[in-house]
């Protein structure tokens, strides 16, 4: 069976918000608008039992409710939605400021509130977008690492990643077969059974950017071609990526 061409593989459709989130936002907005003019609605409908003083006072507290749809729009949908809801909120405040409010400076107070709410919505949207971008980048990095590990597992050559502190960060299965489990151990202990780094250690040169090659002879007769080159690990640390190719087996 032929392998599928990469261009023929269809990627899954990007995840979209469920429609209910749009309706949640609009429901919040409509609720805020109705609550903002509830006093007038009660007057119009003649609902005497609901004629509370709170609904006829300064509407600074009532306006605070609009913070919820503005911040929600910014968090879920982004900057444009937050700006749209802020504009609608401002248009909602205007009739009260112009025609209804008997309190001083109604226009200034609602403009100041709207600027603050809009700013918060914008900041929420920006911060959330940045956070989502970071999550996507992290997921991509992890996927790349997983792909690299899969490749390393399939290699017949031994591969080992050594950090600048001489500690082994990664060893592929072939390396484990040849030398045993060694992740977390010091390279000079793992490979040479020494207590301190080798005198002619190539690590400083490799970390500085050069590629080094040498042969490694074991007392049992095994000989390896060793190639060391710099490698930047996921955390940004420059490490030494070393491959071991066996060119001579152990004496029987």
């Amino acid at each position: 069976m032929d392998k599928p061409d990469a261009s023929q593989i269809s990627l899954p459709a990007p995840i979209r918000h469920d429609a209910y989130r749009g309706y949640i936002l609009l429901s919040m907005l409509v609720f805020c608008i109705l609550f903002y003019y509830l006093g007038e609605i009660i007057d119009l409908a003649g609902w005497e039992a609901l004629r509370w003083g709170f609904l006829y006072g300064v509407h600074d507290v009532h306006r605070l409710l609009f913070m919820a749809p503005i911040v929600y729009a910014g968090y879920v949908f982004g900057v444009r939605a937050a700006m749209m809801i802020t504009i609608i909120a401002l248009m909602t405040f205007l009739p009260r400021a112009l025609f209804i409010s008997p309190f001083p400076d109604p226009l200034i107070r609602m403009v100041i509130f709207t600027i603050i709410a809009g700013g918060l919505g914008y900041l929420t949207a920006t911060a959330h977008q940045e956070w989502r971008r970071c999550c996507q980048l992290e997921a991509r990095l992890l996927a790349e690492k997983a792909a690299m590990l899969t490749m390393l597992e399939a290699m017949t050559d031994g591969v080992v990643v050594i950090g600048p502190d001489y500690k082994i960060r990664l060893a592929n299965p072939s390396m484990v077969n040849h030398f045993g489990e060694g992740v977390g151990a010091y390279c000079y202990q793992y490979l040479y059974q020494r207590d301190k780094p080798c005198r002619n250690c190539k690590m400083p040169g490799v970390i500085a950017g050069t590629t080094e090659g040498w042969q490694y002879h074991f007392p049992d007769g095994r000989t390896y071609d060793v190639l060391a080159s710099p490698y930047v690990d996921l955390d940004g640390t420059i490490c030494q990526l070393t491959t071991f190719r066996q060119i001579k087996p152990a004496k029987s």
Partner: protein
């Protein structure tokens, strides 16, 4: 009318234009609208200030998903 009135009207006008432009841009790029025709929605958004825009948003909440 005093200066505060003029300023308020100017502010209202600017807000209406900004909101209407956002919604009209969405309307122009939309393949399907409720009712099947775009022209009535455009008239509603432009001439029925605030209520028309709000009605369009309620009927087409997909406008927010564009940023994804």
């Amino acid at each position: 009318m005093d200066l505060e009135w003029y300023l308020a009207l100017l502010l209202f006008g600017i807000l209406h234009i900004v909101l209407a432009l956002m919604l009209l841009q969405d309307l122009a790029g939309r393949n399907k609208v409720i009712g099947g025709h775009k022209a009535p929605w455009a008239i509603l958004i432009i001439f029925i200030t605030f209520i028309g825009s709000l009605l369009y948003l309620v009927c087409h909440p997909q406008i927010f998903y564009g940023e994804e």
